[in-house]
Structure formats: structure tokens, C-alpha cells
């Protein structure tokens, strides 16, 4: 099993990586510090899993070398599970990338990282509803302190592929309900 950690620069991918694997890679409050990928092993659901910390990327259409590296990794691991790490204070930006990855038919789990910041900024996110709409597991995390990480690890096995057409319909129906 291969797990890719993907997300925008500086959303805490490296911190999630350290928490999941017990590795010691540098975390910085600083965009663009991970320009190469790091991999490590851990046990998820009793099975050994390879985890790769992919350099930060804004979309799946690469604009610079670091993003190119990210896309190469994604293409090389067709059978990987992707953990899309989102900044909970900027959900929309992160969802764009997550959606792109789902469209490429990868099984996805969403980590709403920096949850504590969102709470402080009065942003509330209906996690259950988000899970229901997207059809993939959504887990709030605070990677720096480790909150939500074991939950995230458990949910990785529940990651599922999404039919984009059905997803679109679900989203359209939402509007009708209101």
C-alpha cells in the first residue's frame, strides 16, 4: 500500500508525515521548504504502508519544477491512496486540488489540517455533511500537536474512489434542497 500526502505548500504535509511515520523531517512555517519528496514506512490497519511526502502543489497542472516532481510522483503511483491535506482556514483552495485528484480516479482521504486555526477564526465546517457530499472520509487534524492523526490513520483504509458524474449530481441536488 502506498500513501501520498498531497496539498498546497505550507498546509502542514510534513507535519502530518512526521506524525504518521514518526520520522524526523523538517517542518517549517514557510511555504516551499519541501522541494524533494521524502518517503517512509508505517503500519496502517495492520499492514505495512509506504508514505510519501509530496512537494506542495496548487493544482495538477504543474507550473514549476517542484510541482512537476509532485505530478511525476502521482503518475508513478497509480494504485496509491492520496491523503489530501487541506488548510481548514482555506477549504475552497484545497478542495480544488482534492477534486482534481478525485477526478483522476485516485482513492482520497481529506485531512482538514490547522483545524485549531479555523476554530480561532470563527470558521465552522460541517465535517459530516462534507463527507456525505464528497463521498470520501474527511478528518479534522492539528498535525503540530497530533490531534486527529490516529483518526486519520484509521480512515485511510476507508478511502474510496469517486465517480465524478455522481459527485456532480450530488452537488447539483444540494442546491435543489435549499
Amino acid at each position: 500500500m502506498t500513501i501520498l500526502l498531497m496539498g498546497h505548500p505550507n498546509v502542514g504535509k510534513s507535519a502530518v508525515f512526521n506524525r504518521l511515520t514518526g520520522a524526523n523531517i523538517t517542518e517549517s512555517n514557510y511555504p516551499g521548504t519541501t522541494v524533494d519528496f521524502t518517503e517512509s514506512y508505517t503500519f496502517i490497519g495492520g499492514k505495512e504502508a509506504k508514505i510519501i511526502d509530496v512537494p506542495g502543489t496548487f493544482s495538477t497542472e504543474p507550473k514549476d519544477e517542484a510541482e512537476k516532481v509532485a505530478m511525476e510522483i502521482l503518475k508513478e503511483h497509480e494504485d496509491a491512496i492520496v491523503v489530501a491535506v487541506l488548510d481548514a482556514t482555506k477549504v475552497e483552495r484545497g478542495l480544488y486540488l482534492a477534486l482534481e485528484i478525485m477526478e483522476k480516479n485516485y482513492p482520497v482521504v481529506i485531512a482538514l489540517n490547522m483545524w485549531d486555526d479555523a476554530v480561532k477564526q470563527n470558521i465552522s465546517i460541517d465535517v459530516d455533511r462534507l463527507e456525505e457530499i464528497l463521498g470520501v472520509p474527511v478528518v479534522p487534524t492539528v498535525a503540530i500537536s497530533g490531534e486527529g492523526i490516529s483518526n486519520l490513520a484509521n480512515k485511510i483504509t476507508e478511502a474510496s474512489r469517486i465517480d465524478a458524474e455522481k459527485l456532480e449530481k450530488r452537488i447539483e441536488n444540494l442546491q435543489n434542497e435549499i
Partner: protein, 409 residues
């Protein structure tokens, strides 16, 4: 199936309206403080305070270990002990390992076990611990990118555009990750430009530390001259090299309180890296220079290069040996320079030349590695060497000229 960009945003908009609720937009003290640090009027005085803080912290911390403990240890115990027990005085082995048998301090003995160990452990180690501790706290608190934005704003005001400030600031720690981080730049031209400028003009943390420890009185002048060179040659390269250099945007993260665990982890990674990568190179540097002395290579090189050194750059020919050591470690080279007998202005000039004449071996191999991605290795290598030699001769020679015009020695 795949959506197009517009459709994707539409869908996300609908999802977010259903699930995300942005509470009343609070302007918190934190966000306003964050703004104040990037506005020039309030940001510059604060940045001055932070830089002063860096200097004061560095001095106190590195001075505590170097002057308080390591200097007395190496000078009063280690050196006399080695000179006492080491056999074979007069042999080449003694010369390489212990150095001058009559030396009274570890600094001027020039052996691997004396000067090499003293420079590596006594001077550079406290310096890099102090340096990285401060940098890590700045990084984790989120002040670093703000400093980058502030510098960027100021550069724009004086008409300099397209400089990647984040790689610049990273390079101050070590040029290697600085060069690697140019990968986040969009065009080949920008990558090449920043790579070469960083590796020529930005001294790394270890070199900064040694300069602050050994020649603090000249530190300001050296940095000023290097930074002016950075921007001047950046401006020129931008004109000369074909291609585009688009604006660089930095994402500014929120302020956070650094956690002790992460700070110590990062510091530990750096210190471990220092022991495994840097110390062997420092010792090797001392060893290589000593062997070259014994083989007469340095004396020969000195006399061959003397016209260039004294005539063009105005520095004594003895600086050849530190220049050779500088290929391996610049911090070692600066330490060796400060032990050579010369005038203040000559010292400034030679430290500037040490900084710009060639990147250290680790940085150079990173440039080669990155060059493959940025327009072909031959092009990058050729371009760098051409820029490098032009810069060394022009910028080094100019400093000599400035010295002559001002009449300083």
C-alpha cells in the same frame, strides 16, 4: 471524467456554501500585528530590532561557549597536551596533524588536530547552533516569510523586481537548500539567475557565524558589499539573459508560537548534519592545505598568482592557502584568513573574494544537479563559470579600486 477549471470552482462554491460557515470576520490583534510587520513604516523598525536581536543573541551565545570555554580549553589544555605527547616532532605527519610546534594558541598552529578541531568545534559549532536556533524560531513563528515580503516591498520601491526573496533567506542558512528551493521558480531564466546569484553572493550560516565571531568589526562592510553586488549583478543578468522573469508571490502563513519539540528537532538535524558533513570537510581542508604546503604547491601557486593577488585585488599572496580550503568549507577559509597578517581593508577584500570566487563543493554539486532541470548541464555550468569569473574579477577588483580611491588600508 474531468471538469474544466470553471466548472470545478462552481462545484466547490456550492459545496462550501453548504458546509463551511465563516463567522463574523474578526480582526484580531494577531492579524493586525501581522500586517504591521509587513508595512514598511512599522515593519522596517521592527525588522531592525529583529536583526539587532539576532546579533545580540549570537554574540552572547557563541561568545559564551567560544570565549568562555573552548578558547581556554583548546589553548591551555588541548594544544600543550598534544605538543607534549605527540611523537615525531619535525616529521611531515606532525606538521599535518599538530602543525607549528612552537604555536601558543590553537588558532595559529594550523594542524588538523589543533586548528582544525578548534575551528570546527570551538568556533563553528557554537556559531551554527546560535544561528540555527534563532533562524528556526523566526521560521516557526512565521516571521521569516513576512521578512521576505517586507524585503520584496522595499526592493520594488527601489525598482528591483523579480528577486526570489525566499531562496535568498534560505541561502543564508546554507546555500544548498537555497539552490534547491529555486525549483519553485517558474522560468528557466529565473532559476539560473537565482542559483548563480545565491551561490556567489550569499554567504552561508557557517560563514556568517565565523565572520561574526572572528571579524565582527568588518562584518557590516562585507555584507553590504556582497548585497549590493547581488542586486547589481541581478539587475544586469536580468537584462542580458533572454527569457522572462515573472513576479514571485509568497504565501504568508499566520503567526504561531514555535513549539519546543519542533525547534529542538530541527536544531538536532542541523547539528547532526554538521558533525557528519561539515567537520570531516573542515579537517580535510586543513589536511589538504598542509599537504600542499609540504609539497611546495602552495608556495609555487602563491608566486604564480602573486601579480593577480597583489596587483589586481590588493591582497597578500598568502591568501592562496585559504582560497584552496574554501573549495571545501568557506567557514574554515575565513578562519584561516583572519590568522594571516594583513590590513583591515585587505581582510575585507579577501573575505569578499573568498565568498564570491567559487561556491563550496556541496553547493557546486547541487548546482550541477539542479542544472539538469534548468536548461541543460552544459549551459548552466558554462553560464555559471562565465558569470563567476566576470564577477570575481570585476567585483573583487572594484573593491581594491574603492580602497585606493578612498585611501583606506
Amino acid at each position: 471524467m474531468k471538469f474544466d477549471t470553471e466548472r470545478r470552482w462552481e462545484l466547490i462554491d456550492k459545496i462550501s456554501r453548504e458546509t463551511v460557515n465563516y463567522g463574523a470576520d474578526k480582526t484580531t490583534l494577531k492579524t493586525i500585528l501581522a500586517e504591521l510587520t509587513v508595512k514598511p513604516l512599522t515593519g522596517i523598525p521592527f525588522a531592525v530590532a529583529v536583526l539587532y536581536g539576532f546579533w545580540a543573541f549570537f554574540n552572547a551565545f557563541a561568545g559564551f561557549f567560544t570565549d568562555g570555554f573552548f578558547v581556554p580549553f583548546f589553548d591551555n589544555l588541548w594544544l600543550p597536551w598534544l605538543q607534549d605527547i605527540f611523537p615525531l616532532e619535525g616529521s611531515w605527519l606532525y606538521y599535518v596533524l599538530v602543525g607549528d610546534p612552537g604555536a601558543t594558541n590553537s588558532f595559529e598552529a594550523f594542524g588538523i588536530l589543533t586548528s582544525g578541531m578548534f575551528v570546527a568545534i570551538g568556533i563553528v559549532l557554537p556559531a551554527i547552533v546560535a544561528f540555527y536556533l534563532f533562524i528556526t524560531i523566526l521560521e516557526d513563528s512565521g516571521y521569516m516569510p513576512r521578512l521576505a515580503v517586507l524585503v520584496d516591498t522595499i526592493l520594488h520601491k527601489i525598482g528591483l523586481h523579480g528577486f526570489a526573496v525566499v531562496p535568498m533567506i534560505l541561502s543564508l542558512g546554507c546555500n544548498v537548500p537555497g539552490v534547491a528551493s529555486t525549483r519553485t521558480l517558474e522560468t528557466k531564466k529565473q532559476r539560473f539567475m537565482m542559483m548563480i546569484l545565491l551561490s556567489i553572493f550569499i554567504p552561508c550560516g557557517a560563514q556568517l557565524g565565523v565572520m561574526l565571531s572572528l571579524i565582527p568589526e568588518y562584518f557590516g562592510y562585507i555584507m553590504l558589499y556582497l548585497l549590493v553586488g547581488f542586486f547589481l549583478f541581478g539587475y544586469l543578468l536580468d537584462r542580458i539573459i533572454p527569457g522572462k522573469s515573472p513576479e514571485i508571490m509568497t504565501d504568508v502563513p499566520p503567526f504561531r508560537l514555535p513549539t519546543a519539540a519542533n525547534v529542538t528537532r530541527k536544531l538536532w538535524v542541523k547539528v547532526k548534519g554538521f558533525f557528519t558533513n561539515a567537520i570531516p570537510f573542515v579537517l580535510l581542508g586543513v589536511g589538504v592545505v598542509n599537504l600542499l604546503y609540504l609539497g611546495g604547491v602552495i608556495d609555487w601557486l602563491s608566486s604564480v598568482l602573486e601579480p593577480v593577488f597583489t596587483g589586481w585585488f590588493g591582497i597578500p599572496k598568502e591568501t592562496v592557502a585559504p582560497l584552496i580550503a574554501g573549495f571545501l568549507r568557506k567557514d574554515l577559509a575565513v578562519a584561516q584568513l583572519s590568522a594571516i597578517d594583513m590590513t583591515g581593508f585587505q581582510l575585507i577584500t579577501s573575505v569578499v573574494i573568498i565568498s564570491i570566487y567559487f561556491p563550496c563543493i556541496a553547493t557546486f554539486s547541487m548546482i550541477i544537479k539542479e542544472g539538469r532541470r534548468s536548461g541543460g548541464i552544459l549551459k548552466v555550468l558554462g553560464g555559471s563559470l562565465l558569470t563567476l569569473s566576470t564577477v570575481v574579477f570585476l567585483w573583487g577588483g572594484l573593491l581594491h579600486l574603492i580602497g585606493m580611491v578612498l585611501g583606506v588600508r
